[in-house]
Symmetry: C2
Subunit: 344 residues, 2 copies
């Protein structure tokens, strides 16, 4: 970026005008958006869904290798993902942004260009927010409002004994992308002209920097008339989410190591880093794929669906939650997912 | 607080259980709250309102003199205030919290005890959130969902020529409370045993640390059948909010210096600090009072209402926005409110 404008040149309201310029509502439920104490929406016939996610610099992202536009895109998409995980449709977001004085108007526009790109791709309206200073670092907190017909909402507590356990896409790639980015950051030694080695691993980088929400899977299931009994998006890792589903539904599960979908690049990267790829797939977070359960009689239909893999089944609670390894042993599932909480 | 628990002892989900323990929904619109990817609500007959506010340590609050419980209370109330300012009723909040490793479980419980106290007083449900680490400092971002019948929503753009300009409560006290707290912080020199001098100025401290949203004023106006033509809450200062109302409605205004409601303690404190009290009342933020406009024929009724003061009237836009001073001069209103944006 060439010209840089100090935020103080525009002021808070000038900045708001700049980042919200030309926004037009895409959803009938959006009555009025940015520009009042609150946004106004109308949901007469559906349930309203709301979810919040906060991304903090130095915890969830590292601006040495995360472009601001990608950051904005990801911050929006991870919120959409929560709404899809309820089998709903995201409709509106509000964005709260805390920025330190090292950011210029152009930097904020970059973040918002990513947020607005995500909104336009997913058909979501940006209806409000708060932009404020921070002493250090960037914080983005997005809240997403969505809707779903009452009888279509999928909670995490509906899994029943003998249900199938399914996941979309592939797992562990976002985590391996993070490892790759971290490796290249170290290799660069802070040299701005350093060219990172991403050849043949572009997919991993993209999965980490620009995740997508699985709107397509939700739509495909609806088209086929398959209503999952429980569903979550995989933000903390498959093990962690599946344990939530089992605890909430008071059930157990068996999933099969050889059925966990892993991309070729993920496997190669794990090999290079001498890491166990199954561990990465079970515990690496941020894939934003869906894990869901569905009645057993959908087995053939689900098995045929592109982008969905049946990886196991739900059991009675007393059987616990376990991974069946390739050699037929059972390993108890543990939540060792990403933990963005302070540690000692 | 005596016993302190490291967050890592509980883990993220243990912490969530602890801070959301025993929450019961107060609103019929709250279907399910904490514990899934998104909260579920139902709003068949009303418009849905949503607003977001973020509070950042070192920018909006200083933990040397802001107790964590008060901070939680204030973070919630300022969001309720935005919904009341649309003539709506706050119903649900989501809370995103970023905390550094210096905070313990008990600290977070303190913050949440304030949030939950505010929720119980204002009848609002805590339905979701995100708790995460931060590298430094505390950030609280709250989003509030509320509702209002379509024909009762008050936007900021409805003020008409000859409308009355009214404010609730008194102005400048929260700002003077901040000056007092800052003065005593300096006087303490960091001594933990220092006893700050708040005698006779308790009201100012309370206005800064524990603001209330003017639910009572909104209810009283509704009871009397008075629907404001425009309304905002005063977070940035009266001048700033009034300029928004005039710009949005394409009108001007005249307000009278001698009608601006100022508390005795505010005046005394301004005198002590050698500050202009009217400037504090016009530009000091965080009073969370309401400024609204209403048709002229409500003059007598509004004049009789406790806690409301008619301070001027709306004019044609070409007359601009001005304060009429005690000596009859006109001073153009300028937004010099609190600015929580980075400055050079």
């Amino acid at each position: 970026m060439s010209e840089q404008t100090e935020i103080s040149q525009l002021g808070e309201f000038g900045l708001i005008n700049r980042i919200t310029d030309g926004i037009q509502p895409l959803n009938a439920s959006t009555i009025t958006g940015v520009g009042d104490d609150a946004a106004v929406m109308h949901y007469p016939d559906t349930e309203v869904l709301v979810s919040t996610d906060m991304l903090v610099e130095g915890v969830h992202f590292d601006l040495t290798y995360v472009p601001l536009k990608h950051l904005g895109y990801k911050a929006a998409v991870v919120n959409f993902s929560d709404i899809y995980a309820m089998n709903g449709t995201p409709r509106q977001i509000t964005v709260a942004l805390a920025i330190s004085s090292r950011f210029t108007v152009e930097h904020i526009e970059e973040i918002y260009s990513g947020i607005r790109l995500a909104c336009s791709i997913y058909g979501v309206d940006l209806v409000g927010g708060d932009t404020t200073a921070s002493r250090s670092g960037l914080v983005i907190s997005i809240t997403c409002v969505g809707d779903a017909p009452k009888d279509q909402i999928v909670y995490r507590n509906g899994a029943k004994d003998t249900d199938l356990v399914c996941v979309s896409g592939d797992l562990g790639s976002a985590y391996m992308g993070l490892q790759l980015l971290e490796r290249e950051k170290v290799a660069s030694g802070g040299d701005k002209d350093f060219i990172p080695k991403f050849e043949g691993k572009e997919y991993l980088v993209e999965r980490q920097l620009k995740p997508e929400a699985r709107r397509d899977i939700v739509a495909e299931l609806a088209e086929k008339g398959i209503l999952p009994t429980a569903m979550m998006d995989i933000s903390d890792g498959l093990s962690s989410e599946l344990l939530h589903i089992c605890k909430a539904g008071n059930v157990g599960c068996r999933i099969y190591e050889d059925r966990i979908p892993i991309d070729y690049q993920t496997a190669v990267m794990a090999e290079e880093l001498n890491m166990n790829v199954v561990t990465a797939a079970l515990n690496g977070g941020e894939d934003y794929e869906l894990v869901f359960t569905a009645p057993l009689h959908y087995h053939d239909e689900l098995n045929k669906m592109k982008g969905i893999k049946v990886i196991g089944y739900i059991t009675k609670p007393e059987l616990g939650c376990a991974l069946v390894t390739r050699d037929g042993n059972e390993m108890t599932l543990r939540a060792q997912g990403f933990n963005h909480m302070p540690q000692d």
